[in-house]
Amino acid sequence: MQTQVADDLEIIHRVLHGEIDLFAALITRYQQHVARIVNRHVPSDRVAEVGHDVFIRAYGSLPRFSGHVPFEHWLSGIAVRTCYEFWRANRREELPVSALTTEHQQWIERILAAESEDRFREQARRQEATELLQWALGHLSADNRLVLTLVSLEGYSVREAASLLGWSVATVKVRAYRARQALRKLFLEREAQEHDTTQ
């Protein structure tokens, strides 16, 4: 790890002094790392495009890379912030409750009824779970979406999320709370509508 960090610094130094083609080594080394991060925040069919933007931004910001943190961490921050910009620039697709089917409702019922860990995991990996998650995230603002994904879904600490987003810890804390409340409200409203239509 230490060797890689030193090697990254050497490459960056040489890129900054005109050996642009060496940047390809950094792309090769970190493209999967960036793809993994981006894939957790944007639709799968946009990962390549957003990942591309991440490296272009990283290259443009290279003179500002201080070297106080490993390049990988610095790049992770750029990746998360590029995803944030993606959702700020792209209109959210707010699907109405009617877009959800009885399969989604049944999935919730099966999750609540799951008695074993295996059964729970098996249900969580079903397509309905992914669709419900996308439906819910589609109702959140770019801020709430990013914070919720980092803190609640991926388990980053508030401090880590703040470092990646370049926000204060207090801001992340407040937004994480609000985002979670917004998500819960969505499910309660969805359930109330479901209840009304079945009566």
Partner: protein
């Protein structure tokens, strides 16, 4: 079905987090990396310098420093000149100057 309790919502949240973590990992090809490098080279060539941001930043700082030094010199010169003749300074600051009126009686 009854209203979702806090415990129910926690369970749904956990399941959604699990669904999120189990997303299939994407694979970016070597062609993709080549495309990125091509765009970086084009951008750099368009700027006409290997890493122009450092060059531009230096020029901006040098320009700002030169402008600040020039402003200081001008201020100092103006202060020295006006302190020699306090009446002239008063005249410069006066709003009630009339054309043709003598500045010093």
């Amino acid at each position: 079905m009854t209203r979702l309790s806090d415990e129910d919502l926690n369970k749904v949240e956990c399941a959604l987090a699990e669904a999120h973590r189990s997303r299939q990992e994407p694979v970016l090809s070597a062609d993709w990396a080549c495309d990125v490098m091509r765009d970086i080279r084009q951008e750099t060539a368009g700027r006409g310098h290997a890493m122009p941001t450092t060059g531009i930043a230096r020029i901006v700082w040098q320009g700002a420093a030169a402008a600040a030094a020039l402003a200081l010199i001008l201020c100092a010169t103006a202060l020295i000149d006006t302190s020699r003749d306090p009446v002239e300074l008063t005249a410069l600051l006066s709003d009630e100057l009339e054309a043709g009126a003598p500045l010093v009686e």
